[in-house]
Symmetry: C2
Subunit: 258 residues, 2 copies
DNA sequence: GTGTGTGAACTGTTTCACAGCG
DNA sequence: CGCTGTGAAACAGTTCACACAC
């Protein structure tokens, strides 16, 4: 998951598109792009919603924040919508990005096709390991961290991706920001602090798994091993769990973790 | 970002912990683990909140859903809280996971230390490329997709990670589900459809960047001297009523389709 | 005094349901 | 009619502010 920061303080009312909507635009865009490639001329909110994995009411509401781009009784023009959403997201312009930390993940990101196809151009790969310098990854020579500031400036980079170990992330972040980067995508499992005006989003791979584990535990949890019946009548916890249960609790010093 | 699915339909009132809270528990856990390693005995909500990157009111509210684990006037016992949160997330048990698709990303995931340290054990690496079979990645031999069902069953895997190309994701997903997997973390940029009772979360690397681009574009705001790359797409046949712009914000030069 | 725990107010998001345009 | 666009209602999540336990 990712966390946004320093967005408009909810003050700006009129023009602002809700965060939740912004977060879904890329989803719509992807679905629309697929339709476009199949030369589908128009879609209804129902069809597009299904393709994007949301419900149609939400989709229509989302689009209503962008303007009235549909045709009643017909649907939306695919090409036109692709353009409008791309523009809204700022994808009609070129975004040079740098990736710092070319380990497994950094390399994966450098190779990821989804970037280039959305207007993101990997302007440079940077790593602290001098022995990597000059070696190509995804067709781009890795450069040493020493040149970070220079690279940012020369390439006009405003978006940086941090894929370093947690220990170096804040330091890299500081340098990126000092050099002019104002948006950071952080893959390191650490909280970055940045000055006002800099946007940080984070992706933590293990957090997602932990959230799945939580739900997985609940599934197995109470009701017997079998449970594909629709009505979730039974309450989740009851047995092995805590919570302010009237009269219970108090198992203070318990088994400690590893 | 990631999207949950098939969670309790908001029907269950009392016992449920809010999704938003669940999503933050791993964050607290990480901060607490760091404190624990430094042998810090207790933390106040204020301190812990800062370390986790949230505000203290939110943190206290979150913890209140778990129970009353703090001491007024003092704070929270670090070790105790680590244990309680781990238990709540289901991390006190072992979660074998399989990773399907051992490309750059799959390899990065296999090597990612954040899994093992949280109770996730990579039970198997699976790839459709027969030439990878038998080769070790992160110390584990990659196995061929043919054995997928067998592996799942033998290892009792209930969580699967999909890191294949988009084109194979749904197919892999179907096989995982058929074999008994009930939680899926999807890195492929596609919407997976799963039966009721199966949980899917997704992480789309390019979506996060697109959201950053959106905000970045707003920062640059008016003085955007740059030029667009893509030529406008085809306009809809019908005239479109662009949303009424509140005069202020410079409207985009309507470089739209002629 | 200090900092938790929590009702109450508030803000943001989703869903409903239907008016009205094509 | 069919499907969009959107107020209004319902719901979820966040913030406030303070009583109260330690």
């Amino acid at each position: 998951m990712a966390t946004g920061r320093n967005h408009r303080p909810a003050t700006t009312r009129s023009r602002g598109i809700p965060e939740a909507t912004v977060a879904r635009l890329p989803l719509y865009l992807r679905a629309l792009t697929a339709l476009s490639e199949r030369s589908v001329p128009t879609v209804s909110s129902e069809e597009l919603a299904a393709a994007a994995g949301v419900n149609s009411a939400k989709l229509r509401k989302d689009f209503s924040y962008l303007g009235s781009y549909g045709t009643r009784g017909v649907g939306y023009d695919v090409e036109y919508l692709v353009y409008q959403i791309s523009r809204e997201l700022g994808l009609t312009q070129d975004w040079p990005v740098v990736i710092v930390g070319i380990g497994n993940l950094g390399a994966a990101l450098a190779n990821y096709g989804g970037f280039a196809s959305r207007g993101f151009r990997v302007a440079a790969l940077i790593d602290a390991d001098a022995s990597l310098a000059g070696k190509p990854v995804a067709g781009i020579d890795v450069q040493h961290t020493d040149r970070l500031e220079q690279i940012i400036e020369e390439s006009g980079v405003s978006i940086g991706v941090i894929a370093t170990p947690a220990g170096s992330a804040q330091q890299v972040c500081d340098r990126l920001v000092a050099a002019g980067v104002t948006s950071i995508l952080n893959f390191a499992p650490t909280v970055l602090s940045v000055p006002e005006g800099v946007d940080v989003r984070k992706v933590d791979l293990s957090i997602e798994l932990q959230i799945l584990a939580f739900h997985e535990q609940r599934k197995a949890g109470e009701d017997a091993p079998e449970e594909d019946t629709a009505p979730p009548a039974a309450p989740p916890a009851a047995a092995v769990t805590k919570r302010p249960e009237p009269g219970s609790d108090g198992d203070r010093p318990a088994v400690m973790p590893a």
